[in-house]
């Protein structure tokens, strides 16, 4: 059975979709609801929406936007950005999201993860780890769209989040974001060896080979990507795309049970 998930990550900025490079230089891609329609038609496994305005500012989520997405999305989706308490989470689950991603809130208030897991089930709680190398080449946890770098090692952090009750970890390499030159396999290996919960690889995917590497070498349970699903061709024209069933079969043949 094909049980490796291939997940488009869509970044919201205001009411539009953008794609970043190394968490900067947001390029406008299009309308989020239009993107949902296209991914519906392409049978995507699930979608992750991250509101980068809200994660940077810490403002509360745009509920009407989430509700528009929920109404049009014929697949499960995860929302992240500006979620800081149980009440907000309740509202988002009620609107119709299947999962919620926590970044800064998980970093600042790890207790929130336990409470959320208890209230909604750990399967619905995704902790986002935005990881960046510092001047010394050491991996460090960042928050608020990588505008704040913390003296925290991602392996220690991953273990702590798993112990706190996180259902999944979205390991997002800030340095690889939008570069399309492959996932940070070393980072993935360090984290997947340290925790038992599923790790979603993110940041750097440019082709199918990269997806396979994240799974077979990096130990990831799922692969997420932004640019790979919204750009196409040598000139990186905006074109939403997703592999069809046949391509998926070839992609993961022999890489899972």
């Amino acid at each position: 059975m094909l049980n490796i998930r291939l997940i488009p990550v869509l970044l919201l900025k205001g009411t539009g979709l953008v794609k970043t490079r190394r968490f900067a230089r947001p390029t406008y891609i299009g309308d989020p609801i239009n993107a949902v329609h296209i991914f519906n038609d392409m049978n995507a496994d699930e979608l992750i929406f991250l509101d980068i305005t809200k994660s940077r500012s810490g403002q509360s989520p745009d509920f009407s936007m989430i509700s528009e997405i929920a109404n049009e999305c014929f697949m499960p989706f995860c929302y992240g950005g500006g979620v800081r308490d149980i009440d907000t989470m309740k509202k988002i689950f009620y609107i119709g999201a299947e999962k919620i991603a926590l970044g800064a809130a998980a970093f600042e208030k790890p207790c929130l993860i336990g409470e959320a897991a208890k209230t909604f089930g750990s399967q619905s709680i995704v902790v986002v780890m935005d990881v960046k190398k510092n001047w010394h080449g050491q991996y460090r946890i960042t928050t608020h769209s990588a505008t704040r770098i913390h003296p925290v090692d991602p392996v220690t952090y991953a273990k702590r989040m798993a112990d706190a009750g996180a259902g999944e970890l979205l390991v997002y390499s800030v340095d690889r974001d939008g570069m399309m030159n492959g996932y940070d396999i070393e980072l993935l290996q360090q984290i997947t060896r340290a925790v038992n919960i599923p790790v979603i690889a993110c940041g750097g995917a440019g082709n199918f080979q990269h997806f396979r590497q994240a799974i077979t070498l990096g130990g990831a349970a799922a692969v997420a990507a932004g640019s790979r699903f919204v750009f196409f061709g040598v000139h990186n024209a905006v074109l939403i795309n997703y592999p069809d069933k046949q391509q998926l079969k070839q992609l993961f043949l022999g890489s899972n049970e």
């Binding site: 049980n3 049978n43 496994d45 509700s67 929920a70 109404n71 049009e72 014929f74 299947e98 089930g121």
Partner: protein, 202 residues
């Protein structure tokens, strides 16, 4: 064709309404007993706690009219997720009595690691009895999120089962009452086709 979607205040029904529109039909969201139809199809969705679902059905004064429509007018009902469970006799999750149209009880998953509760994700339905619900569906693969399941019973028609540490009833029927444990509205083409089949063929 028109389909009524019963809104008992338990979760998002927007995606169901939109999925029905995608099948070429249209949905009417019903909250009041006087708006319940005498004929046709009704979808009972729901996400959340069993008791809360029953309390809401009673509180909105939908319980008796819904039963009457099912029994006397033979309207055709499809329960989705919690909606399916509300159609059973009752659930370990709570103490309220269910609607009792599917003659079985809901039990909590009791699994050992690495399997976890809730059962959340894409999974396969194995057909047990032939049904028009499954017509033209290439792969019976659907999206599930639930902690309780319908246990096997001989007093209803088991249409499909799913494996998650154990086998459980994922699609059931009893005369004019149908239930699916997964979310067709979150299951792409398979889900859309199933809803289309319910509307056109059942």
């Amino acid at each position: 064709m028109k389909v009524c979607v019963l809104d008992i205040g338990m979760g998002n029904i927007g995606s169901i309404v939109n999925m029905i529109r995608k099948t070429g039909h249209y949905a009417l969201v019903v909250k009041k007993p006087c708006d319940l139809p005498d004929t046709g199809k009704v979808i009972l969705p729901g996400v959340g706690h069993f008791d809360q679902g029953m309390i809401n059905l009673h509180g909105l004064e939908l319980y008796a009219p819904l039963n009457e429509r099912i029994q006397q007018h033979k309207i055709i009902v499809l329960g989705i997720c919690l909606g399916m469970q509300l159609l059973t006799n009752g659930s370990e999750e709570g103490t309220q009595r269910g609607l009792g149209w599917l003659k079985t009880d809901c039990k909590r998953f009791n699994l050992s690691p690495p399997l976890r509760v809730p059962h959340m994700g894409w999974n396969i339905v194995s057909p047990v009895t032939s049904t028009k619900l499954f017509n033209d569906i290439e792969e019976l693969r659907f999206y599930f999120v639930h902690s309780y399941y319908l246990s096997i019973s001989r007093e209803m028609n088991i249409l499909g089962t799913t494996e998650y540490g154990q086998s459980f009833v994922s699609v059931a029927q009893s005369d004019n009452v149908y239930g699916v444990q997964f979310h067709p509205e979150k299951s792409h083409h398979s889900g859309m086709q199933l809803l289309k089949n319910f509307i056109e063929k059942c």
